[in-house]
Structure formats: structure tokens, C-alpha cells
């Protein structure tokens, strides 16, 4: 019988990283025993792989060997002195002795020196029982410290508690430099150094500043690497060493880091990145590692709530009453207004199993296809564009592919903020010598940061992506740099010819597009030649591509660029959409779009409808349903009356807030299933408490199509996991669902979806994670797609004419607003604002170029009105030269900022993905909040009072 959890024990540390993959094996003798290891393995690692644990302190297998602590010394026949086994490569025929009197004495002497300047408070120390220094003192047999303790020491060094998540106690530091090296090699921020020399040596964040004031991004790699208590998580300090663990997957971004949840009872002591995580390889960012406190925040709603209208107090009710109330409302509305008057929005943060059930409920229980997901407002153009050109609505590579790239192009993405762990891997490759091209209106951090500099930064004018990508491809073809063999072999010839004629038209030349895009022709030519040269060139892109009126066109132009340079179908290349949310890829895979059943099959296909209809026991609708923006339009028109929203906050995240709130107010019934009373829930008449990722079993699918397990480590606070809530609602509607465990839901998905047939919980346990497609052709999944042939057979070049957006600057609105994200806050901020992350970003600010600010009499810190044709809000100004004059920038993590009051209903032609990245605005100095903000504050107070009265019925506020 397999155990539910694993007992806590420190992950096995092999001392030095595994060598580069090689088929050559070598044999050496360690302590008289013959061992065989891969060529390139260090002596330290060769011993550890065979159960021989040479003492070590500065060595750890996540970092390159350093050779400073001098503990891992060994004797090697034929080599002088006592070499450090961490920096010595194992050679064929070597004879190593890891333990004898000479080595033992040397090691004891080394430990003696360390302990002579170390506090002896082990019994009250946070890492008591889990400290490498303690272990090594024991391992070398230290019995006395002949120097005594009266001399100069560091024992009175003060602690740095500035960072809310970990404590730096320099009195315990052994200056092994693991933290410094982790910050360099793993994270790539280079925030730490060893200041001074000899006795004066000390770990220094930036210019010897407290951690919070330094360049530290709080990723925690240093804390994880520290072998003593010097850098310890505050959770560990407060709660003690964990007692059991479970592997799970992060619920923040699309990197999908694998974590070990380290527990005491049902409390999380700390989240430690899983070394064997296939996406993150033992690294994480501030959010995944530290910002999990929202799951137990006091704002969590634990009982179902109902009310008749949004202007009355909530009533706490039982689950049974809530389901009956909801079902009666839905059926009543459908009877009155028609079956198409209701719909649902699936969550891109809930599990695959949960989103599958929501779309199943809509199609089978509501009887229509009015289901959509937040991918509508982010990567729906990816789905459209990549399906059209390559044949599959997903990225082509695994994240690890970046380690084989020679040229990396980043378009409309800011990975150091939005996909931090992947960015760290990318920076590692860039430091090794890969070249970088950044296409972004802003000088994102990646353009120039420690040891990383873009060869080209094409700072284009917002909305001109297609013109720029077309110009790049024009150069490649006009200079004869295209991959002729690849095109001939792998792509449809007629489509290629049509596209070739189109792209070679002089209107697409860099010289012709320069005026429109603002990018000098020579820069485009240089970037194009670099990209075409490769040999391995990869494209990574984000919402700066998709959230535009030509989002889908840009995606197709990117696919064209990859195909014409032969950069598909192997590692190191590819088209890589950086999907934002932890499960937005999964949500799309699970059939959340109104026109597609799971596996991206159109609802009009009778065979697909028959397949699902048979399994689900119903006849399915063939008419595509309403997309989210269409639902809002239909609500305002009085035709759409009820909405079931699971884990989404459209009132904050969707554009044109005035229109969204008008639509939500027009509904007769809105059911919100979420953790907190978010902005959307303020317009709801039913609130079903949701469960966080710690409270349920399931799977998430990240941006590399990797399906990873989510494991329950605590009981759901409201008593039901999210999938159970949907199931009970379905039953109340008269549609039976009787799953006993999410694995049964995955089994059903696998039965019905060709790209998932090989997926099961048993296989996930065995392999750790699986990249779809996973079926008979690829039993263990598919890291790299389109090898040999495209999913659609031959790749299809698509003509991509540049069509300027309607959103142009005018005299009234002379600036362009573009929006984005920041590292410490996540999306609408519902989770991260309820953690200490707000210490880094407690408000959204307006970044404005000093030139534009000066023209308007705006100084740093001023309140600034931001107005567009859609609405008006007020933000604090920050002067920045990262953006070009004429462009302003803000984030949308705080509801009060009202960033989306200003964004418009302009959208991508093919998918209606909103054009968040281009809004014509004016900015001006103000002395008070906007009317919307005043109304919003009033409405929020009203709704919070309604909630308070439900939770504390007999009190007055």
C-alpha cells in the first residue's frame, strides 16, 4: 500500500551538478570499490551516486563547484596533496581514498576553524536537526575546538529581518558563498556578493543594504542553498522543521514549478522547489515559494452565500440550499428567456479536471455552448494562429529547449517579471553566449541586466508588431537567407509561393515600414540576419503579441518566420507562447472555448458531438456559443441572464470596466465560485466558496503542455473541492455526475481526447509529469512537437497584411497606454495582495517618460488623471525612461487603480482578444480621485457591508 505523504527528509544532494549528457562511461575505484559513472562527473558526485558521502559544505548539486570549504578533500593515487573532490573530474582508472587518518585530521581541523566562530545554540536554532554544518561536525568526528571562543568573532552580528519571508542571520554564516553563487547561477540577478576579505568577509546584498532595499528579487534560491540557519524561511523559524511532504504544482504562472509542500499537520511550513521538477529544476520565484499565505487568509469565505439582488445583504446557507437555489434560478431563467440565456466561464487557475467539469456542465446540463475561459483575453490568438499554420494550438517546445538555442527572440513578453523561473534559465543560456533580440516598446529588464545584453532592442511603436515581423521576414527572403530545403520538404508549396510574393512586396521592407513602426531599417536588417543565421533560433512571445487588434495575425507571422528559417521540429528552436496562468493551457485543452469540445475539435463536427454525446448521455448543441465579450453584449441587450463564473474576476481583468459592470448588473443571476469576495463577486447573487491548490487533487498544464500533479495537503476550508462543487451543482440541475476522485475525471478525458489517451494518474505518479500529446505514438509524452512533420502534415504559410489599429492617437488623446505585469503581484492580485508581496508593489503606478511629464507639469509622485474614450481613472506617476516618449505604462494588479476603466472594446479580429496593449489616452495632473474611483469605493463599501452582515448577523458595523 503506498503512503499518502512522504516523511520529511532533506533531498539527496550529489554535491555537484550532473555532467552534460554523454554516452561515454568511465570506471574508477573509490575506497577499493569499482564504480562506473558518466564521463565528466566529479569525484564527489561519483562517490555520492554510489552511496559514499564525502563530507562537504560549499558544494551542492544545484551550483557549479567552488572548492572553498576544503572539507571534501580526498587522496587520489598519483595526485599530489589532497585534492578537493568537488573540483576534480573523475577519470577512468582513478584510485580514490575518501577516508584515512590524514584526510580525517585535515577535515577535523577545517571544522574546528568553522566552529570557533559559530554560535553554539544548536538546540534553539531553526535548523536544529536539519543543518549541514551540524552534520559535518558529526561526520568528521569533531570533539574539541582548541582555539577556544574568547577571540574575535562574528557572534554579535545583527539579524536582517527586512524581507518579510526570510531572515538573514550573519552570525551563523560560514561564508561558503552558496548564496552568492545561487543568486548568480540559478536566479541570474547577481544581487549578492562577498564583501571584504579574510576575517572581514561577509555576505552583502547589493551595497551592503538590507535585503528588502537591495536588488534581491526574493526568489529564495539563496535560502534554499544555505547549509546553515543563516538564511532561513520565517515559516521554518516560527514552526520548526517539517514532518511530512507532498509534491505539488504552483498555482501562479504558466511555468508550473514543481514544489515540495513541507508540512506540519495541515499547515504549510514552507514550499521548497522540487529539484526533480521538469519545468523548474529546483528553482522558483517569490510568488510560488513564499506567497501561499492567501490560502489561509482571513478573507477566505467558508460558507455558501445567496441573495436575490446585489443590493441586499448576503445570507449564509448550507451547500444543499445553495445548490437548490442556484439550480432553480438557472432553470427558471432558461424557461423564461430560452436555453441560450445562460452560460459559464471556466477558470484558468483551477485544475484540468475542474474546468472539464464546468464546460461539461454548460454543454450537458445547460444545453448550450456558452462557455469560455480567460484565454479569451490573453492567448486566444495563439490558439487561432498556431492551429492555422502548424496544426496545433500550443507551443512547440519544452522549456529546456532554450539551453540549445543560439539566438533567442523575445517579442511582447517580459519573462523576468511574468515567467521568472523560465527567464532565469534563459539568462543562463544568454550568459553562455546565446544572442538576444528583444521586440518591445519598453526597455524591459532583459534588454540590459547583469551579464545579459540584447544585441538588438527593436523598440517599436505599440500596435505595429505585424509590420515589424513582416519586415524581418522580408529581409530574410530578399537576402536569400531562408531555409530552402526545410520549406520545400515540410511546407505547402502553393501557400508558400503566395506568401513569398506577399512578403517580398516592397511595402513590407524595413525602409518602408520604418516611419510607421519607429524602428530604424538597419536595426531590422541586423536582427533579421542574426535570427536567420542561428543555427538554432527560437521565438518566445507573450501578451504583447496577442492582446492586439492583429494578435492572431502576429502569431501567424511569427509561425511564418519560424517556418521560413527552418526553426521548428528540434530542440533549441520553435514557437513558444508564454502562457500566463498556471492552467490556462489546460483550460483551453479541456474544451473551454465556445466553438470547440475538448481537444480543440469544432462543435459542428457530428462525429465529435456523437463521441461526447454518447459518453455524456445527451445530444449536444452544434451551434458555437458566445464568447465572453459576446456574453457581456448579450447581457446588456437583455438576452443573456445568468452566468456561472468559476475562479475568474472579469470585473477587474476584462477591458472597458464600465461595459463589463453594466453587463454584470444586467444579469438576473450570477454565480461566482471563488476563494474571496473579488470584484466580480460584488455583482453576484450566489457565492460558492472555492478551494485553493493546497486543498484539492488534480492536474495543471503549463505553457509547455506539461501536465503536472496537484496534491491535496489540507482539507478544503469550505468542505468541498472545486470539482465537487461543480458536480453537486450539476446534480441539482438534474444532470448526474458521480465522480469519486479527480483521477476518474482524467480517465474520462483520456478516453475522449486523442492527445490525452495515454494520460493517467498512475503514469503521472510514475513519470512525475507528462507533456501532451501522450498516446500510442508517444507513450511518455512529447517534449518537442512537429518533428519530421507538422501536426497538420505540411506547415501552412499564411499571408499577414498589416492593418493599422483603429485606436489611433488624436489631439484629445495623444499618448498610447500599454499595460503589463510585475514580478511580485499576480494578475488581478486576489492572491498576492493577501500576502506580504504587497511590500514590493502596494499600488499600480503610471510610468511616464520625463519628456511627456514635463510637458504636462507632472512630477514624480503626482496624482495623474488617465483618460481614454472609454473612461477615466487616477494613478500616481513615476518617471521612467524605459518607455519611449508618447507611450505610458501601468499594471492592473489593484482593483482601485481602474486600469481597465480606460481600456477599450477594441479586439483581435479573429478571436476578440482585447487590445489591452494599445489605448489612446491623455494624462494630466489632478487633485482628487476620478468619479469612477469614488463610485467604486462607495460600491465596495456597500458590498463589504453586505458580506459582513452575513458573517456577523447580530452586529452593527
Amino acid at each position: 500500500m503506498s503512503a499518502v505523504f512522504d516523511s520529511y527528509e532533506r533531498a539527496k544532494d550529489f554535491g555537484t551538478p550532473a555532467p552534460a549528457p554523454s554516452t561515454k562511461q568511465i570506471t574508477l575505484t573509490i575506497d577499493g570499490v569499482e564504480v562506473t559513472v558518466a564521463e565528466g562527473t566529479t569525484v564527489l558526485r561519483a562517490a555520492a551516486e554510489n552511496g559514499i558521502n564525502i563530507p562537504k559544505l560549499c558544494a551542492t548539486d544545484s551550483l557549479e563547484p567552488f572548492g572553498s570549504c576544503r572539507l571534501c578533500l580526498v587522496e587520489i593515487e598519483g595526485m599530489k596533496g589532497l585534492p578537493a573532490s568537488c573540483t576534480t573530474e573523475a577519470k577512468h582508472g582513478m584510485k580514490v581514498t575518501t577516508q584515512n587518518a590524514k584526510v580525517a585530521k585535515t577535515r577535523r581541523n577545517v571544522m574546528e576553524l568553522y566552529i570557533s566562530d559559530h554560535p553554539l545554540d544548536c538546540l534553539t536554532c531553526p535548523t536544529n536537526g536539519d543543518c549541514e554544518l551540524q552534520d559535518m561536525a558529526g561526520a568528521v568526528g569533531l570533539r574539541e575546538v582548541r582555539y577556544g571562543y574568547a577571540g574575535d568573532n562574528h557572534l554579535s552580528e545583527k539579524k536582517d529581518t527586512s524581507n518579510p519571508y526570510f531572515t538573514f542571520d550573519p552570525s551563523k554564516c560560514i561564508v561558503c558563498s552558496r548564496c552568492v553563487r545561487a543568486c548568480e547561477e540559478v536566479q541570474g540577478t547577481f544581487a549578492l556578493t562577498i564583501q571584504g576579505r579574510g576575517f572581514e568577509s561577509k555576505v552583502s546584498p547589493s551595497q551592503n543594504q538590507p535585503f528588502l532595499d537591495s536588488e534581491c528579487v526574493s526568489c529564495g534560491a539563496c535560502v534554499q542553498a544555505c547549509p546553515t540557519a543563516t538564511l532561513s524561511e520565517n515559516g521554518l523559524i516560527e514552526q520548526g522543521v517539517p514532518e511530512h511532504t507532498a509534491i505539488t504544482t504552483c498555482a501562479y504562472c504558466g511555468v508550473g514549478c514543481s514544489f515540495r509542500a513541507e508540512m506540519k499537520g495541515q499547515e504549510v511550513v514552507r514550499m521548497v522547489p522540487n529539484k526533480d521538477g521538469h519545468a523548474n529544476h529546483g528553482h522558483s520565484c517569490v510568488k510560488g515559494r513564499f506567497a501561499f499565505g492567501y490560502a489561509t487568509h482571513k478573507d477566505r469565505i467558508k460558507k455558501p452565500l445567496i441573495r436575490e439582488t446585489i443590493h441586499e445583504p448576503w445570507r449564509e446557507v448550507s451547500w444543499e440550499e445553495a445548490f437548490k437555489f442556484t439550480a432553480d434560478k438557472i432553470r427558471g431563467i432558461q424557461k423564461k428567456y430560452g436555453k441560450d440565456s445562460v452560460g459559464g466561464i471556466t477558470s484558468s487557475r483551477c485544475t484540468n479536471e475542474e474546468t472539464y467539469l464546468v464546460q461539461k456542465l454548460v454543454r450537458a446540463a445547460f444545453g448550450n455552448n456558452n462557455v469560455d475561459t480567460c484565454a479569451r483575453v490573453c492567448h486566444s490568438p495563439t490558439g487561432f494562429g498556431l492551429k492555422a499554420t502548424l496544426g496545433e494550438s500550443a507551443g512547440t517546445q519544452a522549456f529546456d529547449s532554450v539551453h540549445k538555442s543560439d539566438v533567442i527572440m523575445v517579442i511582447g513578453a517580459n519573462p523576468t517579471d511574468a515567467h521568472p523561473v523560465f527567464a532565469s534559465h534563459m539568462k543562463h543560456r544568454l550568459r553562455e553566449g546565446a544572442k538576444l533580440i528583444v521586440v518591445d516598446p519598453r526597455a524591459i529588464d532583459l534588454v540590459r541586466s547583469p551579464h545579459v545584453e540584447a544585441q538588438f532592442h527593436l523598440a517599436l511603436r505599440p500596435s505595429t508588431n505585424v509590420a515589424v515581423v513582416n519586415a524581418i521576414t522580408h529581409v530574410i527572403l530578399s537576402e536569400g537567407l531562408e531555409a530552402k530545403e526545410f520549406i520545400k520538404e515540410r511546407c505547402e508549396p502553393e501557400a508558400y509561393k503566395a506568401w513569398r510574393d506577399f512578403i517580398l512586396d516592397p511595402q513590407n521592407s524595413p525602409e518602408n515600414t520604418e516611419k510607421e513602426t519607429g524602428v530604424p531599417a538597419e536595426e531590422i536588417r541586423g536582427a533579421a540576419r542574426l535570427f536567420a543565421k542561428g543555427p538554432n533560433s527560437a521565438i518566445y512571445y507573450g501578451l504583447g503579441v496577442s492582446e492586439h487588434s492583429q494578435g492572431s495575425t502576429t502569431v501567424m507571422a511569427i509561425a511564418n518566420l519560424a517556418m521560413c528559417t527552418g526553426n521548428i521540429g528540434r530542440e533549441g528552436v520553435g514557437v513558444n507562447p508564454l502562457r500566463g496562468q498556471n492552467n490556462v493551457q489546460g483550460s483551453c485543452d479541456m474544451g473551454s472555448f465556445p466553438h470547440e469540445l475538448p481537444g480543440y475539435r469544432h462543435v459542428s463536427d457530428p462525429n465529435v458531438r456523437a463521441l461526447f454525446g454518447k459518453e455524456w448521455g445527451v445530444e449536444l448543441e452544434s451551434d458555437p456559443g458566445l464568447r465572453i465579450p459576446n456574453m457581456f453584449d448579450a447581457a446588456v441587450a437583455g438576452q443573456f441572464k445568468a452566468l456561472y463564473v468559476q475562479g475568474e474576476d472579469v470585473a477587474q481583468s476584462d477591458p472597458d470596466t464600465h461595459h463589463v459592470t453594466k453587463a454584470l448588473s444586467s444579469l438576473e443571476c450570477m454565480i461566482v465560485q471563488d476563494l474571496f469576495l473579488n470584484e466580480t463577486a460584488k455583482f453576484a447573487t450566489v457565492f460558492l466558496p472555492g478551494s485553493s491548490f493546497l486543498e484539492k487533487n488534480g492536474t495543471f498544464t503549463n505553457a509547455e503542455r506539461r501536465i503536472s500533479p496537484v496534491r491535496k495537503v489540507m482539507e478544503p476550508l469550505a468542505g468541498l473541492e472545486d470539482w465537487e462543487v461543480t458536480q453537486e451543482l450539476a446534480k441539482a440541475l438534474g444532470y448526474p455526475m458521480n465522480y469519486k476522485h479527480p483521477s476518474e475525471i482524467m480517465d474520462e478525458i483520456a478516453r475522449l481526447t486523442p492527445t490525452f489517451t495515454g494520460v493517467s494518474y498512475e503514469k503521472l505518479d510514475r513519470l512525475g509529469s507528462i507533456q501532451w500529446p501522450c498516446n500510442d505514438k508517444a507513450e511518455e509524452g512529447t517534449p518537442t512537437m512537429h518533428i519530421g512533420e507538422f501536426v497538420r502534415g505540411k506547415g501552412l504559410f499564411r499571408v499577414t497584411p498589416y492593418v493599422a489599429t483603429d485606436e489611433v492617437t488624436t489631439r484629445m488623446f495623444p499618448l498610447l497606454l500599454t499595460t503589463g505585469r510585475i514580478l511580485s503581484q499576480y494578475n488581478v492580485g486576489a492572491q498576492t495582495r493577501r500576502t506580504e508581496n504587497s511590500k514590493w508593489h502596494d499600488e499600480d503606478v503610471l510610468e511616464i517618460h520625463p519628456h511627456d511629464a514635463e510637458q504636462r507639469g507632472i512630477e514624480a509622485g503626482d496624482w495623474v488623471g488617465l483618460k481614454s474614450r472609454a473612461g477615466e481613472t487616477v494613478l500616481r506617476a513615476v518617471l521612467s525612461e524605459r518607455i519611449q516618449p508618447g507611450v505610458v505604462y501601468t499594471t492592473f494588479h489593484h482593483p482601485f487603480s481602474g486600469a481597465n476603466v480606460v481600456t477599450t472594446d477594441n479586439s483581435d479580429w479573429a478571436t476578440n482578444c482585447p487590445e489591452y496593449k494599445v489605448t489612446a489616452v491623455q494624462a494630466y495632473k489632478v487633485t482628487q480621485m476620478s468619479d469612477w474611483q469614488k463610485e467604486f469605493a462607495k460600491f465596495t463599501d456597500e458590498q463589504l457591508e453586505h458580506l459582513r452582515r452575513a458573517r456577523e448577523p447580530n452586529t452593527v458595523s
Binding site: H595, G625, L626, D633, V803, D905
Partner: protein, 76 residues
């Protein structure tokens, strides 16, 4: 349904698919797109608006809506 909005959307689709001299082909591609991605209520609203000359579709978008109306009639 806000038929003005639907009109803008249809015009935008047609403008983005507009390439080459064969405008009938572009209109057909536009009609296919509407059929594939638009809910039938939306399709009916734009067909009605166009047939009653209440909305301002571009020539290609207008032709696409005519083709859409024909296709919908055939499959009804």
C-alpha cells in the same frame, strides 16, 4: 445584440482577410470565419441588419454576410 458592434467586427474580419485581387475569395473566407466562430444569434442579427440596410458593412463584409445568409439557409 449590439448590431453596430457586430458590424465593426465583421468589417474588421474582412479587412484582415483582404489580400489579393480575388475579392469573392476573401468574402468567402470571411463568411467561413463568421460561421465557424459566431453564435447563430449573432449571425442572424447581422444578416437581418444587412438585409434591412440598417448597418454599414464594407463591400467585402457585405458580400460575406450575403454568403453567410445563403449558407445558413441551406443548412437550415
Amino acid at each position: 445584440m449590439d448590431v453596430e458592434k457586430l458590424t465593426r467586427m465583421a468589417n474588421q474580419i474582412a479587412a484582415n482577410l483582404d489580400y489579393g485581387s480575388d475579392k469573392e475569395k476573401v468574402a468567402l473566407a470571411t463568411a467561413d470565419h463568421l460561421k465557424r466562430f459566431w453564435n447563430s444569434t449573432m449571425c442572424a442579427a447581422i444578416v437581418e441588419g444587412h438585409q434591412k440596410k440598417l448597418i454599414d458593412l464594407t463591400p467585402i463584409a457585405g458580400r460575406a454576410v450575403d454568403l453567410l445568409a445563403e449558407q445558413k439557409k441551406k443548412s437550415a
